[in-house]
Amino acid sequence: MRLVRRSFLAGAAAGAALPFLSIPGRAAAKPGTLVFGLSSYPPSLLPWVQAGTAAGTVNLCVHRGLTSYAPDGTLRGELAEKFDHDDKNGWTFHLRKAVFHDGSPVTSADVKWTLEQVAAAGSTAYMAPQFRGVAAIETPDAATVRIVMKEPTATLPLWLAQYEMPIVAHGTGIAGKPAIGCGPFTIAAQDHGVSVTLKAFPHFYRPGLPKLETLRMVAYADETARVAALRTGDVDIIEYVPWNAMAAIEANPKLALQTTNGPFMYLTFNGSFKPFADARVRRAIALGVKREDIVKAVFFGRGSPLGGMPIPPGTPFYDAKLANGWTYDPTEAKKLLAEAGYAQGFSCTLLATAQYSMHMQTAVLVQQNLAALGIQVQLALPDWATRVALGNRGQYQFAVGGTSADSNDPDGLSAIIDSSLAPSVARSYDLPVPKIAALFAQGRAEFDPAKRRAIYDQLQRVLLAEAPMVSLAWRSQGYGLSRKVSGFYDMPGALTFFSGTTLEQTSIA
């Protein structure tokens, strides 16, 4: 057969068309393999660093701590089968039989090593400040560890349940020695920037778990691409479902949507800007914002107004009245401004970021609402990196924030509300409220649930009066799932970002 130009061109054209015509849409799913669509590639998998949701989800599969949260959000023992406190600031943890991924047993020496690394000078651990409150770590035997705190600390088991607090094998988790964990999965492969492939750890201490053989976590930074991947079956679960896609996922018979109101939007203030040093002005702003509009316009109705301390409904410390202490009341807001000497309003700049539309849109609505009070707001919308830098340095007047508490316990909000702590992008700047700091300390030291509740009730009242931060709206945090997936749960409230824990019991049909 002679190859002529016409037949060559025809062949080439047919070859070029092949990818569009004959190749099946996607590789058939392997049994026991689940593909999880992450919202980003984990920037770091260091064990004790807060490196975002994606990193947290991967770490929750690879590591385990002394305590953890059950799917319904209740605190439970994890590597510690049981734990209790004594009257000498001590907490004793009795370890279950478990092994690390290298086959070595989990012992009290590993727990001691972990806590020492977290609290060490030069540590980059998220929980370092909390664990610098440890006075001594006793290891009477391999299966028992007693942590003695400098002060009475009722919240220690909560701190240990943080996903930034995994227990790692002795001698690992430091420079040049990757952390060895004891979670239900091990890292089998990493395609940098693309995916992390996890394999079931056959010696995981919970019998029959994990149910999946392989868990492939693929990063989809673009939310539209992430949703499309779920719709087409490329992935089985996605995190960070965009609010505008939630209705379509709910309506799709092949998909399911799980949501919880955990993260929230709020305003922080710089106390060195004169008007915001006055609690009456901050309270006026709290009363001058239409929170329902934020929920409708920014979150497509997927959330709810939040006018008080962000304690999730359904948790023991929630009080509906206190949680909605600030409601839209422009008359009272104007009265407060007049009392503070700003009857004609004032001009200020609101810092947010154009990189995340929820921040930008919230800022626009706040700007519109405050104009009605005579407060002329100019928006500053740099990229996220600049916004963080300006926030940490206090180079702003007031700012839009969006985050989640460390836990559903009010103590998990201290890093956001207690502005007497060191400057941070997450809390107000140069605006110490000693009463709030003292009440957080009291709550942390109190073991009696009823007395704790009274303390946090009082704290909520002080917050409403002083307004060191102004909460705006809960935002719905959602996971989209294929109906073939079972056993995965979006954990309640602030624990939504701990939902990766339930991947140990997740299976796929």
């Binding site: 990818p19 963080v388 060191a422």
Partner: protein, 316 residues
């Protein structure tokens, strides 16, 4: 030879200038990689932890010292480590660059495959059906944003017809068919815009050359139309097409970010944008350096191609 050496010397100088400007720019804009890494999700990092991380990453050193060590590293072929996960920058680029080059090559083949032939046909028959239809379609393809084209392709081919994956990447050693299936839609998305541009350039160039005296003379001498087209028209008309194609290819090495995002394709552009957002200085510098070198190399190649296509250029 001296001309080539002069061009190479000037190119190296240009690369150094680009690296220096990028170093200064990325360090002078607000944003701290240590703060960013520890403030994920709007969390409140311990300032002592941020300071410790800055020390570990060497960010507490004077700016000139950082520049000096970066430059020495570059001269030794060491692009440094990513500030985010301490992975070697060279390895990150070596992983992403071939994917981008492959994507652009596939897109170029498609774009050249329809842009140049159709542009030629339209140019030799101005005002005809093809010319009029081509003008409308190319205007449409050039005016529709690339992310709209990509999203439409996903909607039609992935969501509605189920012929392709919505996006992603499959290594060629895992599945040949899967690899090309994942390459097809992003390549087509780029090719539609690039091809439309090549169509217009080719049409204009062919139209211009076809009216030249030497073409008329060739026709008057009775030279066969096909021979006139290949030897006299196309050969002279291709210079601007090569120029535009080369510049576009160079620009696309770092400019396919929207396509990469829409199709979740892990190329170099997305890595660059992520690195800038994370203020990952070594990664930004490394990628910009590689893109600059490639851009300069493409320009050098183009100059040599001109010389091959147009003998008058030689010796200038």
């Amino acid at each position: 030879m001296a001309w080539v050496l002069r061009r190479i010397g000037a190119s190296l100088l240009l690369v150094w200038v680009v690296v220096t400007v990028v170093f200064m720019a990325i360090h002078l804009v607000p944003g701290d990689p240590a703060e960013l890494l520890l403030s994920q999700g709007g969390s409140a990092p311990d300032p002592a932890a941020v300071a410790a991380l800055r020390g570990q990453l060497g960010l507490d050193r004077p700016l000139l010292a950082q520049y000096g060590s970066d430059l020495v590293g570059l001269l030794h072929g060491d692009l440094g480590l990513s500030l985010q996960d301490q992975s070697p920058v060279a390895a990150d680029i070596a992983q992403r660059l071939p994917r981008t080059i492959e994507l652009l090559c596939a897109a170029s083949i498609l774009a050249l495959g329809f842009g140049v032939p159709l542009g030629t046909l339209a140019g030799i028959a101005p005002g005809g059906m093809l010319d009029r239809a081509g003008a409308a379609v190319s205007a449409l393809l050039l005016s529709v944003p690339v992310f709209v084209v990509g999203t439409l392709l996903v909607l039609v081919f992935a969501e509605q017809l189920g012929w392709a994956d919505a996006g992603g990447f499959v290594p060629i050693d895992r599945s040949l068919a899967g690899h090309f299936a994942h390459l097809a839609m992003p390549a087509l998305t780029i090719a539609l815009g690039l091809g439309a541009m090549l169509y217009r350039i080719t049409r204009a160039a062919v139209l211009d050359v076809a009216l030249r005296d030497y073409v008329r003379t060739a026709r008057a001498k009775g030279v066969a139309p096909r021979r006139i087209l290949w030897r006299h028209v196309l050969r002279n008309a291709l210079s601007p097409v090569v120029t535009v194609f080369g510049l576009q290819f160079g620009a696309l090495i770092g400019g396919t970010v929207l396509v990469e995002y829409v199709f979740n394709y892990p190329g170099l552009s997305g890595l660059l944008v992520d690195a800038v957002n994370a203020r990952d200085y070594p990664l930004v510098q490394g990628i910009v350096l590689v893109i600059s070198v490639l851009f300069v190399a493409i320009n050098l190649t183009l100059d040599l191609l001109y010389a091959a296509l147009d003998p008058r250029v030689r010796g200038r």
